[in-house]
């Protein structure tokens, strides 16, 4: 901070911000307003940031220790009974379409845009192409994102991409049983929001008492599915008895959850599917669960082809550095902010943020990107259009797949990431398109030493010579076949 005298005006003795200046400089969420960024020399006030983090931490512990009362479903909610469900499903069944894939996940993949949802959407298309009926089940939540009261989960059912209606999971189980179809297979993309014991009854409707279970994250190990201890940083999934777990706000939930998951694996043949080798290896080393088989199915594959029409990018152009996606800590937003604060004044660098909402951060060029079903390649196309050299992907947990990394590479950018980023680091090691660093210090050094300029030059040379083609996988359909 250059204006040391100014500190006397806006800071109290204990180094927290005086209330008046808090209103002027900060937003409600604790980030600096534009005027704050300018006046305070773009340096976030660490004490204030610490206060915010401590408040969030204590709130987390309180929440996890309070009994949350689930709300009753609204009276107007029409819940289909087993017979109604059965008759609606039967409309879709015929001689050529007699096999049913029941897909289970935590939300309606048609309404939310995220890696898992995109993956389910692709899987639905692949399944229908192979003649399956694709029946998707997700828990219905109230306005606060909580399940409705009662042990019998209320679910939303979607068939071949269209609404079938809402029902109790027990009704769905009865309807499926009553269909007496022999070819019913179950794919679980996520267990979140389900009563795992009740889901067991659904698995029992299959002939082989089996299911596929995807490891899109580590929910099978802990309800803190990114394995973030107290939502502060990656915990490496230590034993429940360890200090780290005992001192975590998720501990009580984990104890209960682990017992349920354990019995789920004991009672059914569970085929594990991981989107990357890193994820599978980590999961095997950290969970005591015994699957019937393990598979790695990448959501996408990259093909590097020699470029037919050579394009030369301007060598004098500033290095274009981008942040992609949600502005959240677990994806590395604070680190990117730090880089911008430190290096945006240098003419060699130009910083971009590609996301849906304006980050309102000084010295950043915001590119409004919304990935939709109709425009699934929006991110990749914008990266290519804006000639981004480097994407900073700095998650604080090992990403199981990282669609964002594939979007960055698909847009011909190189990636800078940390060694704990899971599949992102693996992709870079495999393709050579970027660097894997050990620490935040090394990231800052990359910019201050100018090594990032050389990396950008390498990517421009590569762009001149090669182009990237992406190939989507058919996901679970790689290991599921009609009987």
């Amino acid at each position: 901070m250059k204006l040391a005298w100014f500190q006397w005006i806006y800071l109290k003795k204990n180094l927290t911000v005086r209330p008046l200046f808090r209103i002027i400089f900060y937003k409600k969420n604790g980030t600096l307003r534009k005027i704050g960024t300018m006046i305070l020399d773009q340096e976030p006030l660490k004490t204030s940031d610490l206060d915010r983090k401590i408040t969030i931490l204590r709130k987390l512990f309180q929440e996890k220790n309070q009994h949350q009362r689930a709300s009753d479903p609204p009276p107007f909610l029409e819940l289909l009974n087993p017979a109604e469900l059965k008759s609606r499903i039967k409309i879709f069944l015929n001689e050529t379409h007699s096999a049913i894939l029941i897909s289970v996940s935590h939300d309606d993949y048609r309404k939310i845009t995220g890696g898992v949802q995109i993956c389910i959407r692709r899987e639905e298309q692949a399944a229908r192409k192979e003649g399956f009926i694709y029946l998707h089940v997700s828990p219905l939540r109230d306005a606060d994102g909580q399940n409705y009261a009662g042990p019998d989960t209320i679910v939303s059912v979607v068939i071949n991409g269209s609404d079938l209606g809402c029902t109790r999971l027990s009704s769905l189980i009865l309807a499926v049983r009553d269909l007496k179809q022999t070819d019913i297979q179950i794919i679980i993309h996520h267990l979140l929001g389900f009563n795992i014991n009740q889901l067991s009854n659904l698995i029992q409707t299959t002939e082989e008492n089996s299911c596929i279970l995807w490891l899109h994250d580590f929910y099978t190990i802990c309800p803190s599915y990114k394995l973030s201890r107290n939502d502060t940083g990656f915990c490496h999934a230590p034993a429940i008895e360890s200090n780290a777990c005992q001192l975590c706000a998720y501990k009580n939930e984990r104890v209960q959850h682990s017992a349920q998951v354990q019995s789920f694996f004991v009672n059914h043949k569970v085929k594990i599917v991981a989107p990357s080798n890193h994820t599978l290896n980590f999961w095997i080393s950290k969970s005591n669960l015994k699957p019937s088989s393990c598979h790695v199915i990448s959501h996408q594959k990259l093909e590097i082809l020699p470029r037919k029409n050579k394009v030369i990018l301007s060598p004098t152009q500033s290095v274009r550095v981008a942040y992609l996606g949600y502005l959240i800590e677990s994806k590395g937003w604070p680190i990117f902010q730090k880089l911008v604060s430190e290096f945006a004044k240098k003419s060699e660098y130009k910083f971009y943020v590609f996301c849906k909402n304006n980050p309102n951060f000084f010295n950043v060029n915001w590119i409004n990107v919304t990935v939709t079903k109709e425009n699934a390649d929006a991110m990749m196309n914008e990266i290519a259009k804006n000639e981004i050299d480097i994407a900073i992907l700095w998650p604080n947990w090992p990403e199981t797949f990282s669609l964002t990394a594939f979007e960055a590479l698909g847009g011909s950018a190189f990636i800078v990431t940390n060694s704990s980023s899971g599949n992102i680091a693996d992709i870079i090691r495999e393709t050579g398109r970027g660097v894997v660093l050990d620490s935040e210090r090394a990231l800052v050094d990359l910019f201050s030493s100018g090594a990032i300029v050389q990396l950008a030059e390498k990517r421009r040379q590569d762009y001149f010579e090669n182009e990237i083609a992406e190939k989507n996988s058919s996901l679970s359909l790689n290991i599921i076949h009609r009987k």
């Binding site: 204990n14 660490k46 004490t47 610490l50 206060d51 983090k53 401590i54 931490l57 204590r58 987390l60 512990f61 309180q62 220790n65 201890r229 107290n230 502060t232 940083g233 915990c235 490496h236 230590p238 034993a239 360890s242 200090n243 780290a244 777990c245 001192l247 975590c248 706000a249």
Partner: protein, 333 residues
């Protein structure tokens, strides 16, 4: 081998003492844990040992008999709770099966085995932990005042922790400590006294076989956080400067503790997580039947608070009670 541990508290600190007992029990299920209670329960509340992690109870009446009321009247809550530590230690050491005894303040939580100290007591009579084991930097005046000067004022060793074996030398120490604390366990830093703690500056001078435990994993607290960094290893064990965290002293839970922790832990989030955990554990262990700030001996029978000046006057004129028998129960009960 039987190891006993104890803590001393009033009912308003029962929540903290419960956290101590629970965490100590997790590490050492075979230890005998004592609650030394310098209080009487509030109406409606019953201290039911069968529902607690404590095994045994000592009340101040058991230690002081008919002297309880006049003696307690001469002490404020901190003085009283610290003064009984030596008498309670004598009481516990007198149990035939006891071989080693540990004292922990009620606002401590234990996170890893104390086995290393148990072993040390095979070779040493007394184990103590200093407030600080590393000097502050020369230009860190705030830290020097908060930590080093404070230790010079209130005692080199933190008496939130003490471990002794049952050797004659250890018993000699306990007898000396108990004698001093009976008459001079006062918060009078102007006279060079600070309750039970300042006396213990003399331990290494007076007694043989004293171990000054300098391992940073013991007695971690705001007064040494400037030199201690917490992290977790890959197995999830809490580490302080790369040594396992044995116990943390959550001194001054509340705004003061928050300010001091922020000042010295800074962005060491693991410490802030630990505090968040502790605040919640204490909240979970709090009994709503115990009023805030409850201390039976803190008030006269009419409910009015006893001024510290009245206590000082009473203890300074210690022959008052002899000449005026009605003052043998100064609480007017």
């Amino acid at each position: 081998m039987k190891i006993h541990a104890y803590t001393s508290f009033t009912f308003c600190y029962l929540n903290r003492a419960r956290v101590l007992a629970k965490t100590l029990r997790q590490q050492h299920p075979d230890w005998v844990i004592w609650a030394v209670i310098v209080d009487c329960p509030p109406a409606g509340f019953e201290f039911d040992l069968s529902k607690e992690d404590f095994d045994r109870v000592i009340t101040v009446e058991m230690l002081l008999g008919e002297l309880t009321n006049p003696w307690l009247f001469g002490h404020d809550i901190v003085e009283a709770c610290t003064a009984v530590k030596a008498h309670a230690l004598q009481h516990i050491m007198a149990q035939p099966e006891v071989e080693k005894v540990f004292y922990f303040d009620p606002d401590i939580a234990v996170f890893n085995s104390m086995g290393e100290v148990v072993d040390l007591l095979d070779h040493y009579n007394i184990v103590v932990t200093p407030h600080q084991v590393e000097p502050e930097l020369a230009n860190e005046n705030q830290a020097i005042i908060d930590n080093e000067i404070c230790s010079l004022q209130t005692g080199i060793f933190n008496l939130g922790f003490l471990a002794v074996n049952k050797s004659p030398e250890a018993q000699k120490f306990v007898q000396w400590w108990a004698d001093r604390l009976f008459s001079f366990c006062h918060d009078r830093t102007d006279l060079g006294l600070f309750v039970d703690q300042k006396w213990c500056n003399l331990i290494p001078c007076f007694f043989e076989g004293v171990k000054v435990l300098r391992n940073p994993g013991y007695n971690v607290a705001s007064w040494n956080l400037s030199k201690r960094k917490m992290a977790y290893d890959e197995n999830g064990q809490a580490q302080i400067n790369n040594q396992p965290l044995r116990f943390f002293h959550f001194t001054k839970l509340g705004p003061t503790g928050d300010v001091m922790t922020k000042r010295y832990a800074r962005d060491n989030m693991e410490i802030h997580e630990l505090w968040a955990w502790y605040c919640q554990e204490v909240a979970n262990a709090t009994d709503p039947l115990i009023p805030n700030g409850w201390w039976y001996y803190g008030i006269y029978s009419d409910g009015s608070a006893i001024e510290k000046s009245s206590r000082v006057l009473y203890r300074n004129k210690n022959n008052l009670a002899k000449h005026l028998p009605q003052l043998s129960n100064p609480f007017n009960r």
